[in-house]
C-alpha cells in the first residue's frame, strides 16, 4: 500500500530524514519508535504533505501513485490520515461544521452525495460515543478548550469518520491517562481492517500493549536502524534506546533525575 524509498527531507536547510525505506501492506499495523529528535514527527508530517518540509530525495507511493505529486488535501482524499500530535484549536469553526465539511469533501471526491446536516448529526453522534466524547462537543469550536485527552479522542473520531486507507498516528498516546489511553486504543483497534494500514509513531511502547503492531521499526538519526516484530518493542522497553547505541535525550534526562 505505502512504499517509501530512500526518503530524504529537510526543514530550513537542515536534513532530518536521511534515507528512509519502508513498505507497509494493507491490513498491517506498523509502529515506528525512536527517541526525540529522531525524525518520527517529520516523517508523519511529510506523509501528510506539510509544505514546511522539503523533500530532497526519494519517493513515496500510495498504491502505486506518487504521493509527492499531490497536495495535502488530495492526499487526504486518496486516503492518508494524520492524527496530529498537537491537534490545532480553531475557535469560530464548530467541530460539527469542520467534520461535516471534511466528510463531504471526501464523499464529493468519491462521487457520493453530500450528507445533509441532519444525516451528519446522526452519524457524528454515533461515532462520538465510540470515542467517549459528549456530543455537546460538536457545537464547540474545533478542539477549543479541549483537554489533551479530548483532543486525541477527537483525532481518532475523525479517523473513524473519514475511514482512511492509511492512518498515521503521531504520538497519539502522549498526554493520555490510562483510561483515555484505553478509549483511544479501542478506537484505533476499531479502525483495523484488511484494506487499511496503520502507522503508529511513538516514543514509548505502552501504546503497543493496547494496539499490537505487526512490525516495529526503530528510527534514529533520520534512518530506520532496526526492524522487527512485536518483540522488538518489548526489548526496547527493557533495555532502552541505549541498547542500540542510540542516545535518547529524554531517557538521559530521566536518568539524571533519578
Amino acid at each position: 500500500m505505502l512504499s517509501i524509498k530512500n526518503l530524504h527531507a529537510s526543514v530550513e536547510g537542515k536534513e532530518i530524514l536521511k534515507g528512509i525505506n519502508l513498505e507497509i501492506k494493507a491490513g498491517e499495523v506498523h509502529a515506528i519508535m525512536g527517541p526525540n529528535g529522531s525524525g518520527k514527527s517529520t516523517l508523519s508530517q511529510v506523509l501528510a504533505g506539510n509544505e514546511a518540509f522539503e523533500i530532497t530525495e526519494g519517493e513515496i507511493t500510495l498504491n502505486g501513485e506518487n504521493l509527492l505529486d499531490l497536495e495535502t488535501e488530495e492526499r487526504a482524499r486518496e486516503g492518508i490520515f494524520l492524527a496530529f500530535q498537537y491537534p490545532v484549536e480553531i475557535p469560530g469553526v464548530s467541530n460539527l461544521q469542520f467534520l461535516r465539511t471534511a466528510v463531504n469533501a471526501m464523499r464529493h471526491h468519491k462521487g457520493e452525495a453530500e450528507m445533509n446536516a441532519a444525516e451528519f448529526m446522526k452519524l457524528a453522534k454515533e461515532v462520538s460515543k465510540q470515542v467517549d466524547l459528549d456530543p455537546a462537543f460538536l457545537k464547540r469550536g474545533v478542539n477549543e478548550g479541549f483537554s489533551g485527552g479530548e483532543k486525541k479522542r477527537n483525532e481518532i473520531m475523525q479517523a473513524l469518520l473519514l475511514q482512511p486507507k492509511l492512518a498515521i498516528l503521531d504520538e497519539t498516546d502522549s498526554g493520555l491517562d490510562i483510561d483515555a489511553l484505553q478509549v483511544v486504543s479501542n478506537g484505533v483497534n476499531a479502525l483495523r481492517a484488511e484494506d487499511r494500514a496503520i502507522l503508529m509513531v511513538t516514543h514509548y511502547q505502552r501504546l503497543l500493549n493496547h494496539i499490537v503492531p505487526d512490525h516495529v521499526h526503530v528510527l534514529a538519526g533520520g534512518k530506520i536502524v532496526k526492524s522487527g516484530g512485536r518483540e522488538l518493542a518489548l526489548e526496547l522497553e527493557e533495555r532502552g534506546y541505549g541498547w542500540l547505541g542510540i542516545k535518547d535525550d529524554e531517557e538521559a534526562a530521566a536518568n539524571s533525575v533519578n
Binding site: 501528510a48 504533505g49 506539510n50 509544505e51 497536495e71 495535502t72 488535501e73 492526499r75 487526504a76 482524499r77 490520515f81 494524520l82 496530529f84 491537534p87 490545532v88 480553531i90 475557535p91 469560530g92 469553526v93 461544521q97 469542520f98 465539511t101 471534511a102 469533501a105 471526501m106 471526491h109 469550536g141 474545533v142 475523525q158 473519514l162
Partner: protein, 432 residues
C-alpha cells in the same frame, strides 16, 4: 506650502426647497459655515488614513435626481421605508399606521415640529473633532433634500424591524444626503435596519447622517449594512445620545469601496445607560473602509462594550479608530473595547488606534487591538482532512467574524451578510 483645498462652492448650493422654513434656515446656516472651509487632509487627525481616498469633483456636487430609477431593491420582512438618492419614496415604502410611533418625512412636518427638529439636529454629533476642516456630517446638514423623523412615544414598541433601504442611483455623477432622526421616548423600543445599496456606475458620493436620541429606559437596536458599488464614496455619521438606563445596540457590516467612512458617536448622558457596538468590515482589491467610533462616558454607572473586526485582502486598506472618553463625573464606568484585524495579503493595510481618555478615577476600562494573518497551522490541519484550500480559507476567515455576524438579531440581515460575504470570499480566494 500649497494651501489645503477647500470645499468647492458648487457643493454649497442645495437645490430642493420642499422643506419647512426652519429646516431650510438650518440648512442655509450650515452651508454658510462651510464656505471656504478646507477639506480634510492627512494632517487632519480624524482623516489621517482616509483623506487620500476622498475625491470630490464638481460634477459630484449636484444632487442626484429623486425621480431616478430604482434598482431591484431588497425584499425585506417587516416594515420598509425606501429612499432613492436621499429622498424618500412613499410608493416604494410599506408600513402600517403604528400605535405610538410616527414615521414622517421632513417635508410633511409643520413649522413648529420642524423648528423643534432643527434645534436638535446635529446635537448628537461632535463638531470639534475635525478642527479646521469640513466636518463631513455638516455637509449633510447643508445639503439634505429630505429626511425621516421617527418618533416613538413613551412605552411604544415597534413589533418588527423597520428597514430603511437607502438606494443611490448613479446613472449620472452627483451626490445624495439621506438623513434620519429617531426620537425614542421613555421605555420605547425599535430595531432599525439601514441598508445602503446602489445602482449605476458613475462616480457619486453618499453622505449620510442618522441620529438617535434615547429617553430613559429606551432600547434601540441599529443595524447598518453598507453594500454600495465600486463607484460610490460613502461618508456616513451616526450620532447617539442616551439618557438614564437606556440601551443602544449597533451592528455594522461594511463592504469596502473607493471610500467608506462611518463615524459612530455615542454619548452616555444618563446614569445606567449602556451601549454595545459591533462592527465587521471586509475590504478587497483597492478598497478602503474607515470606522471611527467615539464613546463618551458622561454620566456615572454606564457600560460600553465595543467589538470590531476588520479583514483586508489584496491591496485594500481598513482603518479602525476607537475613542473612549470617560468624563470626570463618570465614576463606576465600565468600558471594554476590542478590535481584531486579519490581513489576507501582504499588500493589504490595516491601521488601528484605540484612544482612551480617562478623567474619572474609579472606572474599569479595557482595550485590546491585534493584527494577524490566517494561521498556517490551522490551514494545514483543515486541508489534511481533505477540505479544499478555498474552503479552508473561507472557514478560517469566517471564524474570525462569525461570532459578530451571528449576533445580528435579524435573520434576513444575517442572510444578506452571508451572501455578500460569500461573494467576497469567492473573489478573494479565487484560484486558492
Amino acid at each position: 506650502m500649497k494651501p489645503a483645498p477647500t470645499l468647492s462652492a458648487a457643493f454649497l448650493h442645495p437645490a430642493g426647497q420642499s422643506l419647512p422654513e426652519p429646516l431650510l434656515a438650518l440648512r442655509k446656516q450650515r452651508g454658510t459655515a462651510l464656505v471656504d472651509m478646507p477639506l480634510p487632509t492627512r494632517k487632519t487627525e480624524n482623516w489621517k488614513y482616509s483623506s487620500k481616498y476622498l475625491k470630490l469633483t464638481d460634477d459630484m456636487a449636484i444632487s442626484l435626481p429623486a425621480d431616478g430609477k430604482t434598482g431591484s431593491g431588497l425584499a425585506v420582512p417587516g416594515y420598509k421605508v425606501a429612499f432613492l438618492n436621499g429622498v424618500m419614496l412613499p410608493e416604494a415604502s410599506d408600513y402600517p399606521d403604528l400605535d405610538g410611533i410616527t414615521i414622517e418625512r421632513f417635508g410633511d412636518l409643520d413649522d413648529d415640529e420642524a423648528a423643534s427638529l432643527a434645534d436638535r439636529m446635529d446635537s448628537t454629533l461632535d463638531n470639534s473633532s475635525d478642527k479646521g476642516a469640513v466636518q463631513m456630517a455638516r455637509l449633510n446638514s447643508a445639503r439634505f433634500e429630505d429626511g425621516l423623523l421617527i418618533r416613538l412615544r413613551p412605552d411604544a414598541v415597534l413589533d418588527q424591524p423597520l428597514f430603511i433601504v437607502h438606494e443611490v442611483n448613479a446613472d449620472a455623477s452627483g451626490s445624495a444626503y439621506p438623513r434620519i432622526f429617531v426620537d425614542a421616548g421613555r421605555h420605547s423600543q425599535i430595531t432599525l435596519v439601514e441598508e445602503y445599496i446602489s445602482s449605476g456606475d458613475e462616480p457619486v458620493m453618499v453622505n449620510t447622517v442618522t441620529e438617535f436620541t434615547l429617553g430613559d429606559g429606551a432600547n434601540i437596536t441599529s443595524i447598518r449594512l453598507n453594500m454600495e458599488g465600486e463607484n460610490v464614496q460613502h461618508i456616513g455619521a451616526t450620532g447617539v445620545r442616551q439618557l438614564r438606563s437606556s440601551r443602544f445596540e449597533s451592528h455594522c457590516v461594511g463592504f469596502g469601496g473607493p471610500l467608506r467612512r462611518h463615524d459612530l458617536q455615542v454619548r452616555l448622558e444618563g446614569e445606567g445607560a449602556e451601549c454595545k457596538l459591533n462592527g465587521v468590515v471586509v475590504t478587497q482589491g483597492k478598497q478602503h473602509y474607515d470606522n471611527h467610533t467615539t464613546i463618551e462616558h458622561v454620566a456615572a454607572h454606564c457600560n460600553s462594550e465595543e467589538t470590531y473586526r476588520n479583514i483586508a485582502a489584496d491591496q485594500s486598506h481598513a482603518v479602525f479608530n476607537g475613542r473612549i472618553h470617560i468624563h470626570q463625573d463618570a465614576q463606576k464606568s465600565n468600558a471594554d473595547m476590542n478590535n481584531k484585524n486579519l490581513l489576507l495579503s501582504n499588500g493589504a493595510e490595516i491601521d488601528t488606534k484605540p484612544e482612551l481618555e480617562i478623567y474619572a478615577d474609579d472606572v474599569k476600562c479595557a482595550h485590546g487591538a491585534t493584527i494577524g494573518q490566517l494561521d498556517e497551522v490551522s490551514l494545514f490541519y483543515l486541508v489534511s482532512r481533505g477540505i479544499g484550500r478555498r474552503e479552508a480559507n473561507v472557514l478560517l476567515t469566517m471564524a474570525f467574524i462569525n461570532e459578530l455576524v451571528e449576533q445580528i438579531p435579524v435573520e434576513q440581515v444575517r442572510d444578506t451578510a452571508h451572501t455578500r460575504l460569500n461573494q467576497f470570499f469567492d473573489q478573494t480566494f479565487e484560484g486558492a
